[in-house]
Symmetry: C2
Subunit: 152 residues, 2 copies
DNA sequence: CTTGAAAAGAACTGCCT
DNA sequence: AGGCAGTTCTTTTCAAG
């Protein structure tokens, strides 16, 4: 595990909100020079704390207005069934994230579709035909707020 | 809603995987010049399809090894209760995302803690004391895979 | 859409405290 | 660790086809 000082935490917190900020601009706010800030970021990347940079897409504006969370309980459990399920579910383009969880469900899937009829198509033809699938529970996303996280 | 051509989709797909790529490098792969690629990215930002850039943190390496999803059912529902709940839950640093959903639960929270004792502290002192909270269901995250999404 | 160029800015390197 | 100075690369804007 990596240990961070206060400045590292401030850098990660700032980059979590907006990763377009230059190391120079961030350094100014923290009382650091541009190279010093840059070297800290580099160190965090090398240590694996900072895995990469991703764009934040507005899927609704891209025509994917429906997001549904599916809780999936497998019918037959076992190592092979888990791997089969994961391989098959990863091949569905509408599935954005696959979370393997411990609790009332075995997996939680984030599924995006253009609209409700499109979602029904995905559910019937792709989800319900997955190998080993058992009970499925659904929750439709109404709104979502992403917070700064434990470093905030 | 924004309409994209095939090249736009390829750009968004590439940036979803790694947003550090320069417009020049991406353009080469797509058979576009650097300014042409850059203008497309700019257009997608202006249209709101591309909301921003965020870092992808490895929370486990930062000492937050436990992620739990909480399904929350409110006890008393009504507009005021929703807003009270949202305001209070947003103030908890361990809560990473708040999803307002429709289904068996009203909200789904992604909660991060250093370890199980730390999670218990958050649950008992911060979550269970939230205004209007009813039933709470928990799922511990074992592993997670983020896929390319509907554009992939 | 393209190429080419130019200016601004950010990233990166080496050296020094 | 940090700062300073300099180099390299990318972004951003322009002109012209």
């Amino acid at each position: 595990m990596i240990d961070l000082d206060d400045i590292d935490r401030q850098i990660l917190r700032a980059l979590s909100e907006d990763a377009t900020q230059s190391s120079g601009a961030m350094g100014r706010k923290l009382g650091l020079s541009q190279p010093a800030t840059w070297r800290r970021i580099r160190r965090l990347e090398d240590a694996g704390a900072l895995r990469g940079r991703r764009v934040d897409l507005d899927l609704a504006r891209l025509g994917f207005g429906v997001t549904v969370f599916l809780g999936v309980k497998l019918a037959a459990k076992g190592r092979l069934s888990l791997e089969d399920f994961e391989r098959a579910v990863s091949a569905i383009p509408e599935v954005q994230t696959v979370e393997h969880i411990l609790g009332a469900y075995d997996y939680r899937l984030r599924v995006t579709a253009r609209d409700i009829p499109d979602f029904e198509r995905v559910l019937r033809r792709r989800i319900m035909t997955l190998p080993g699938i058992g009970n499925v529970d659904a929750n439709v996303l109404l709104s979502e707020e992403r917070l700064s996280g434990p470093l905030g």
